[in-house]
């Protein structure tokens, strides 16, 4: 059986890759996909702990995280469609009306 630590390290690596993507990409869809990647890394940690502690609660948490991620994706992608209609751009640096 693969130790829990291996899964946690993998989860940390994937989360960090997602953070790098959100910080460096300027395309709003790509940033959104990196957020999904981070959510999945957290899910992996939840499931690793669920197995380690012999409890089912971690898997229930992952279930709810996935549900919220689906709702978030629907609303976020609708916002992206509105953005493309109004500004004709996907570059988040172009969307700075609320920047002081």
């Amino acid at each position: 059986m693969v130790p829990t630590a291996h899964y946690l390290v993998l989860s940390a690596i994937l989360f960090a890759i997602g953070v790098v993507g959100v910080l460096t990409r300027r395309n709003v869809i790509a940033m959104f996909m990196c957020i999904e990647l981070m959510l999945n890394a957290v899910n992996l940690a939840f499931l690793a702990f669920s197995r380690h502690l012999h409890q089912l609660d971690g898997q229930i948490f992952v279930f709810f995280v996935m549900t919220v991620a689906a709702a978030e994706a629907a609303v976020g992608l609708a916002l992206i469609v509105v953005l493309s209609r109004q500004k004709q751009t996907m570059d988040v640096d172009q969307v700075n009306e609320m920047k002081g």
Binding site: P3, T24, R26, A30, C34, L37, L47, M90, D93
Partner: protein, 167 residues
């Protein structure tokens, strides 16, 4: 054998995750992300959560990524301008900072990194089967489960209202 499977899926998921970040076109990022989710479904299965692995493939790699690709085709994003000028230093520092973040996250769980940190007796482990998940979901977690349906409904309404043409 288990280690071989684990490292195979781990390598695929990390490689495709890097591809998601470095690909310039959003479509290629989305395709890499689908492969990444598939590999992670394999890891979930290996962790004994069959139901979550199936949901991962159906909901994430299926529904959510299809939604992403629909929107990418709908809005047709041009090749993005990679951060230049004042933002370039962020890209430069991102890699060392990410490595530091990995070590920081690993340090958060020192108890699990010692020797023999593997799982204890595997026999007492509750299976992540549909039956067990459903029993927990409809008894102990029935209220959050019902609230989730309201959340989905609100998300549907919000998406429709936002994406509707206002003319």
């Amino acid at each position: 054998m288990e280690y071989v499977v684990f490292y195979l899926f781990a390598a695929v998921s990390v490689a495709t995750a890097v591809l998601v970040v470095v690909q310039k076109k959003a479509v290629y990022s989305a395709l890499a992300l689908i492969v990444c989710f598939g590999a992670m479904a394999g890891l979930f299965f290996q962790l004994g959560s069959q139901f979550i692995a199936a949901i991962q493939v159906i909901v994430y790699a299926g529904a959510i990524m299809v939604l992403f690709i629909f929107v990418i085709m709908l809005v047709d994003p041009e090749a993005e301008s990679y951060p230049g000028g004042s933002l370039r230093h962020i890209s430069f520092w991102a890699i060392p900072l990410a490595v530091m973040l990995v070590f920081l996250l690993i340090q958060a769980f020192p108890d699990f990194l010692g020797s023999g940190a593997g799982s204890r007796a595997a026999s007492a482990q509750p299976e992540g089967s549909v039956e067990n998940i459903a029993r927990a979901l409809f008894t102990q977690y029935v209220v959050p489960f019902e609230v989730t349906s309201i959340l989905i409904l609100v998300a549907i309404l919000g998406a429709i209202v936002l994406a509707k043409r206002s003319d």
